[in-house]
């Protein structure tokens, strides 16, 4: 069976772990529990009639105390760049992180995930900026780990992009 490594990247408290838990186990907890280090889960999905085992590397969120070790990203086929749109700075932090990933690993398929779509009324994000990113070819999807909205789609879109990628 084909096996692909996916990394979950983004600032702290954007919902990376919640997305993985929702995707793998179908559960969600409202209580914020910060991640330390790396935890790897897996899930097998079917993409275009082919079974693919996704290894999901849930990597701790970046903040002023911890930066992501680029060595964790070795061998990854794609990554979800997770943003909490209720905190506008998490988008800029994510894009900053993406720039470092590109410098270190080159072009790798990615999906920018605007998580917490259940809190849409609290979103505080520049829609022009998002539109510009999409125009520049970035896949952008809205998800809610709480309701499950868009979660499967985000992973499957990434998986498809990874399979279509020449790398």
């Amino acid at each position: 069976m084909l096996q692909k490594k996916i990394c979950m990247l983004g600032s702290f408290s954007v919902g990376k772990t919640s997305l993985v838990r929702r995707f793998v186990s179908g559960i969600f907890s409202d209580k914020y529990q910060t991640s330390i280090g790396v935890k790897i889960d897996n899930k097998t999905v079917e993409i275009s009639g082919e079974e693919v085992k996704l290894l999901l590397w849930d990597i701790y969120g970046e903040d002023r105390f911890q930066k992501v070790q680029m060595s964790y990203l070795n061998g990854m086929s794609g990554y979800l760049l997770v943003v909490d749109p209720t905190r506008r700075e998490t988008l800029e932090d994510a894009l900053d992180l993406q720039q470092r990933v590109k410098e270190s690993k080159g072009e790798v398929p990615s999906v920018l995930v605007l998580n917490k779509s259940d809190l849409l009324k609290d979103w505080d994000i520049d829609s022009d900026r998002i539109a510009l990113l999409e125009r520049n070819g970035q896949i952008v999807l809205c998800t809610s780990a709480k309701t499950g909205e868009g979660v499967e789609l985000a992973f499957s879109r990434l998986a498809r992009a990874m399979l279509e990628s020449p790398a």
Binding site: V38, F65, N74, R87, R88
Partner: protein
């Protein structure tokens, strides 16, 4: 039973799992593996296993370890923390290192156990605090932006309504229509009171926030704040391989206390440092420092990044939601906050490219007054309380306006078409010549085009305008007047932003008066015509017009009497004296400015001496004293404080110029304007 080295024995006793790397990706445990390792990887003493197959995380780490073992040099790699789950669903929090031990390639794995829980608690607390802090900052910024929006946006339609009613009330209306117009006028006043009430509530709230910790700490010390910022931001800079330092030239023995408040100054430093970090390449240095600028202090953050884009104007960099071009910043809220805060304290903020590369973001704040530096700091020097008072009684009906003075040439800029049209109509109905434009840049353009012939008597500027705002336009006009030595043109600010801080900011940008929106017709006349009055009636003050420091409505009587005595009541001689001074003094000022710029003490002494003699004719004692002080500094070859003295001198001279101009008869051009007051130019 295999024998272990003393190191191995020690490590095994600590509950660590040791594996020796064998050819072919195989590993063999040294000694008896701990229970957790057995449970995770189904291993036992002496059995071979392929760790990479058992753990995807280790597969990744072992590739890195292999490079270390193969090179036999460099730093031993650490895996960082990761979590593995055994078949029963138990989580184990682990860390691994690659070592050389007694000539063997050893993988050491440590189960963090309770250390992990303690570590997680620390991070959890820190991140919960960060989230709470982010939310708080966000709320404060939202509140400030909301206040700004209320002041500006709500006052615009109200101004239009008030203008319409004012215009209608001067017409002869049938009684039944007049009744409704009066009702509309009264209700618009009520609405204004309500908005003022909201503003007052917000303003009190913000003042409370601003005063937090003030009494205890005294005026904020920029040196302390800058050092604290460097200390606080050192870890993220270190992570990014960027050096963050305090400027070595910063002299701790000097007084660096300013007007403002410490928490906000720390946030300003924080925002500027975050911005610098975002653009700083690895290996570069960011320097935080201060410069003594006489009555103010300049704080700067210098980076060695790519510098500012060539098309980045000050407006764009500090605008709300402004973003960098290639590597965008945090949506612009931070720098916008810095600008709002600094300007509310009467300071300025900016960004420049440094000559040697990189950029400098700076802000400049006024020094704390000596009294407040000694005891309790005050947010700002006293500024006229302009608009935030709520009238306690219903506003009176509009009074008839005083007799109109001579027609004035007025340049007015406002991006709100309705307000512009109304103001033009109100001024035109008074007989003035009005040139309307829709933004600050157009106003500056019109001002420059008309600076020689058909010079404007008054320039009226809205504050929030595209391209150039009111403050920037006023500064640019003053700068041009200074450079050319031209007489100061009366500048009037029309603004919805009229808190005491705003009015101080407006005054310091060169405005002579401000008129808060919404304004009444008579108040508009009074504030514009002040200083040009030909009729004694014109001195009747309208209540809501707020002259600023430096604005002189009419020449003081003692000056008039003094000149009458001096010239033995010879009007022609008085005119010659005044005209000669008005033409000559700006040249002398320019000479002093040049001398100061070139630090030429001899030229300063000579120019100041010459100006001093000219001023003395008009009995302007304070100005004479300022000129004398400059002369003395020049003679002593000690220019410290000269810039401040010069500023005092020039601002006082502007007042004297206005007073003297008011004593001159009107020019024929102004007395007999070529254009009719209802010329098409007055149409926006």
């Amino acid at each position: 039973m295999p024998r272990h080295s003393i190191y191995e024995s020690f490590l095994l006793q600590q509950g660590l799992a040791l594996f020796e790397s064998l050819p072919g990706g195989q590993f063999v445990p040294l000694g008896h593996p701990p229970d957790w390792a057995k449970s995770l990887w189904r291993t036992s003493a002496g059995s071979h296993l392929n760790l990479a197959e058992r753990s995807p995380f280790l597969e990744n780490f072992l590739a890195e370890s292999a490079r270390f073992w193969d090179s036999a040099s460099g730093e031993s790699p650490d895996s960082g923390t990761w979590t593995e789950q055994d078949s029963a669903g138990n989580d184990y929090h682990l860390e691994a290192s690659a070592l050389w031990l007694d000539g063997r390639r050893i993988l050491l794995v440590r189960n963090l156990g309770s250390i992990f829980s303690a570590r997680q608690q620390v991070y959890q607390t820190a991140r919960d605090s960060l989230l709470a802090h982010e939310r708080l900052v966000h709320e404060i910024q939202k509140k400030e932006i909301l206040l700004h929006t209320i002041i500006h946006d709500l006052s615009q339609p109200l101004t239009a309504m008030r203008g319409c009613f004012d215009l209608l009330l001067v017409e002869t209306l049938p009684p039944n229509i007049a009744k409704f117009v009066n009702i509309g006028h009264r209700e618009s006043l009520r609405q204004e009171q309500m908005i003022r009430g909201i503003l007052e509530a917000f303003s009190a709230d913000l003042s409370a926030e601003q005063s937090l910790g003030k009494d205890a700490a005294g005026p904020p010390d920029l040196a302390l704040s800058s050092k604290l910022a460097v200390e606080q931001f050192s870890p993220p800079f270190f992570e990014r391989g960027v050096k963050l330092v305090v400027d070595r030239k910063l002299d701790d023995s000097l007084d660096w206390r300013v007007i403002g408040d410490t928490p906000r100054i720390e946030r300003i430093f924080g925002n500027l440092l975050e911005n610098a970090l975002r653009y700083s390449p690895r290996g570069s240095t960011v320097t935080v420092g201060l410069e003594d600028r006489g009555s103010s202090i300049l704080a700067f953050v210098d980076d060695e990044g790519p510098g500012l884009p060539s098309d980045a104007s000050h407006d764009r960099i500090f605008a709300l939601f402004s973003k960098g071009k290639d590597r965008p910043g945090k949506a612009g809220l931070g720098l916008y906050f810095c600008k709002m805060t600094v300007e509310r304290w009467g300071g300025t903020i900016g960004a420049d490219n440094r000559p040697g590369g990189g950029s400098r973001f700076w802000f400049r704040l006024l020094r704390a007054p000596a009294a407040s530096a000694a005891s309790v700091k005050s947010p700002a020097p006293a500024a006229p309380p302009v608009t935030l008072s709520v009238p306690s009684a219903p506003a009176p009906a509009p009074k008839p306006s005083p007799a109109p003075p001579r027609p004035l040439r007025i340049l007015i800029a406002d991006d709100n078409e309705t307000i512009l049209e109304l103001a033009v109509e109100i001024l035109r109905s008074r007989g003035h010549f009005v040139t309307p434009v829709s933004d600050g840049a157009a106003a500056l353009d019109a001002f420059v085009k008309n600076k020689d012939r058909n010079k404007f008597d008054v320039v009226v500027l809205d504050q929030e305008m595209p391209r150039l705002n009111g403050l920037e336009t006023a500064r640019a006009i003053c700068e041009k007047e200074k450079k050319s030595g031209a007489l100061h043109t009366r500048l009037v600010s029309l603004t919805g932003n009229a808190t005491p801080e705003d009015s101080r900011r407006i005054r310091e940008s060169g405005f002579d008066a401000l008129l808060p929106k919404p304004f009444e017709r008579n108040a508009l006349y009074q504030v514009i015509e002040s200083g040009f009055s030909a009729s004694p009636d014109a001195s009747a003050a309208a209540p809501s017009a707020a002259p600023l420091a430096g604005a002189v409505p009419a020449p003081p009587e003692d000056l008039v009497a003094h000149l009458a005595r001096l010239t033995n009541d010879n009007a022609k001689l008085r005119r010659t004296l005044i005209s000669s001074f008005l033409s000559d003094a700006p040249k002398k000022i320019a000479a002093i400015r040049r001398a100061l710029a070139r630090k030429n003490a001899n030229d300063l002494a000579a120019s100041a001496h010459s100006l001093k003699g000219a001023i003395a004719i008009f009995q302007a004692e304070k100005l004479v004293a300022a000129a004398r002080a400059l002369e003395a500094m020049g003679r002593a070859h000690n220019l410290k404080g000269a810039a401040d003295e010069f500023r005092l001198l020039t601002s006082g001279l502007e007042e004297l110029f206005r007073n003297l101009r008011a004593l001159l008869p009107r020019s024929p051009r102004r007395a007999k304007p070529r254009r009719s007051p209802r010329s098409r130019k007055t149409r926006p």
